[in-house]
């Protein structure tokens, strides 16, 4: 019979652990397991939902982009710069020694073989996420002829590599492939 006297300061078994200690620990532990189980849906709901993840890839028609021109496409609600480089811009990019670069990469590493005139990068400055200028006609392309971020003055060259300013990395190259000579699938 469990009586009211069966309380914390008496009725100790030989090994010093009472039945009630075990029940207490088991009950509180299980409540802890339950709390973790409840936390899972309450937290995962914040992660991207299925409809957001479904926007994972886009097809872009690049047939209308003349050499020297660039467009902005929207992928996952972020701008992607697609630029048709002129031969002199390719030459300028290839002329830079890698040792001068903050984030050393060649133009060839940043384009697809056979499509080295197509520079496709995220239009998100690697400093703090602004959209650099340089895609539109007449926009400031900065001292290196690529892109120029108006927020804090990061300047990118014609391979969209960081050359000057606070940004730490080159403009990121997204995963993409040419599904035909005039269509790029991004994502």
């Amino acid at each position: 019979m469990a009586t009211l006297q069966d309380t914390p300061h008496d009725a100790t078994a030989e090994d010093g652990v009472r039945r009630r200690d075990f029940i207490n620990v088991a009950a509180i532990s299980f409540a802890g397991v339950g709390a973790v189980a409840v936390a899972v849906p309450l937290l995962t709901q914040m992660a991207p939902s299925a409809d957001v993840l479904a926007l994972a890839s886009i097809d872009v028609d690049i047939s209308k982009i003349q050499p020297g021109q660039a467009i902005k496409a929207s992928w996952r609600k972020q701008p992607v710069f697609i630029r048709n480089l002129m031969p002199k811009e390719i030459a300028a990019a290839n002329a830079v020694p890698l040792s001068e670069l903050r984030d050393p990469q060649t133009l060839a590493e940043r384009t697809k073989p056979g499509h080295s005139n197509w520079l496709i990068t995220m239009g998100v400055c690697t400093h703090l996420g602004c959209i650099p200028l340089g895609t539109g006609e007449g926009e400031n392309r900065g001292p290196f002829g690529g892109y120029f971020c108006p927020c804090h003055g990061s300047a990118y060259d014609t391979a969209a590599r960081i050359r000057k300013g606070p940004a730490p990395k080159n403009l990121q190259v997204p995963q993409y492939e040419f599904t035909s000579p005039t269509v790029v699938k991004i994502g």
């Binding site: 009586t3 309380t7 995962t44 709901q45 939902s49």
Partner: protein, 434 residues
Amino acid sequence: MSFGWAQEYQPKSGFMRWIDQRMPLPRLVYGAVGGGYPVPRNLNYFWNFGILSGLMLTVQIVTGIVLAMHYYATADGAFDSVEHIMRDVNAGWLLRYSHANGASFFFVAVYIHIFRGLYFGSYKAPRELVWMLGLVIYLLMMATAFMGYVLPWGQMSYWGAQVITGFFSAFPVVGEPLRIFLLGGYAPDQAALNRFFSLHYLLPFVIAGVVILHIWSLHIPGSGNPTGVDVKTEKDTLPFHPFYTAKDGFGVGVFLILYMGVTFFWPDYLGHADNYIPANPLATPAHIVPEWYFWPFYAILRSFTVDFILAAKLWGVLAMFSSILLLFFLPWLDTSPVRSGNYRPVFKRFFWLLVADVFVLGYVGGAEISPVNIALGQFASAYYFAHFLIILPLISKLERPLPLPNSISESVLHGEAEESAPYGLATSGPVTAE
């Protein structure tokens, strides 16, 4: 805080002492739900439902805040955003079903809590204010639940909003302008939806505030008990912790099993299929009823079919509001000094008749309108008012209650000296029997 023998808070560590001296929050918690709150030792499981109501309020606030991260209150997009929650948001289906069924289980807990109070006379002196604050919480809950039901902007949402706000148009002269003012338009639309969302988010926190007052006013005299006899000595009480935290913990486990059982296996059982049709201002569903927890009141509303001095519509609305406002006067309608129904043989019978009557009202409120149902609803509505206004005062005067026990400990422990010793003060030898 209520009895002289309540244990005083003793900080277990230097850190807690430091906190306690500067801001006695640990002391407050200890005195409210810890070892410092002496509770009658004879509470039965009906006394779990206060904690369970508080639990459901918490569940509703937590799931509601999370749902509000995905819901948008626009007449064009609200319905789609709810479907978005159901299909696209991670675990969104679980959160929404938990919230929708949580409302029902909140009302289940509160209704049992209210009828516990009615049976055991919890509304009587010195706890009148506890009872009245509880009724305020209940009214706020009804407003919150109604506005929450409008938010999915399905057919039942829309026409529920139309009908409920239509109550206000029953009042002469000011009625129709008042209704238009409340809706911000001539029919429920963007303005109404947006303000309902705003208030639906606000009111639960108002409820939480009134809950604090409810508990505060309860803890002045301390909890009631099934005998209705006042606590007299330390023998009559046990510390809230660990005795009632454990008992409430068990109740919480059982209640959550039922709640989650419905949420997982019959998530739409308590809802209406019509609410999965987007709101259409040009077509009313064939059978429009509120959620089950409003059915008894809906039955009272529909029981008035003939104009008598005032319009039938106005009578219905007045009767429906009166059926709750009446309860504010209950402490003075029931004048019997005996609290517990256990010692009131006549009251006990009429109490169960009232329970049956409310179930009949609930049935009528949820059923289709037919001549039989209307007659049944009229009879049950009349009986509801007669119970409180005629039967209860008469019983209080005429009834001869059973003899009350001298004390709580005597009623439960039959005077066994050892068992009735105050908790922790047993003086006899070590416990042997196990």
